[in-house]
Symmetry: C2
Subunit: 106 residues, 2 copies
């Protein structure tokens, strides 16, 4: 699975990747867990193919790294790359998402 | 021109609005200026209709407020609303955009 290098990450693509509620939710769960999670560990209210699409958008934007462990596709947040390129941005985005959830409910 | 109320602002829509290079540039110029600017003060390398579209997306997401002063359409950043709902987010986004520009060039 192709991944952009750190140098190829673009702010616009990262923001686009996070502009969808399901993708934002995936990123929040990965950030909260702090470790890799398999696609099947996310209980998203969407079809399998939609879910696959969302993970791919996140991977192609450089927000997550995907790799196979046996037959499971694992997903990890590229926090180090994001923090290096855009210090403070990911935390600000996660805080904004948490605040919105508190305001509006899940 | 309809504007979402502060309560109607959504993080996902704000991120979508900022996920385009031209729209990000508009927001950066408004933030740097600190005051309202007319559409014609932005020298964007796009057609007039594309430019109008970008301003509308920003307005509908609640990122900018537009109003007519005489025949000029003026644009102002909704910094107070954004900072109230998502403290620190706008500044983190502006900093990330500035950092990317320094890294890649204009």
């Amino acid at each position: 699975m192709p991944h952009p290098t750190r140098d190829d990450l673009r702010l616009e693509a990262v923001l686009h990747a996070l502009s969808d509620p399901m993708r934002l939710r995936i990123v929040r769960e990965l950030a909260a867990d702090g470790d890799e999670l398999s696609c099947s560990q996310f209980e998203l209210p969407v079809t399998k193919s939609t879910s696959t699409h969302h993970f791919r958008v996140l991977r192609e934007a450089g927000v997550i790294r995907q790799n196979y462990r046996g037959t499971a596709k694992m997903n990890g947040l590229r926090r180090e790359d994001l923090d290096d390129l855009f210090p403070g941005l990911l935390d600000a985005l996660l805080a904004a998402a948490a605040r919105q959830e508190a305001r509006l409910g899940g």
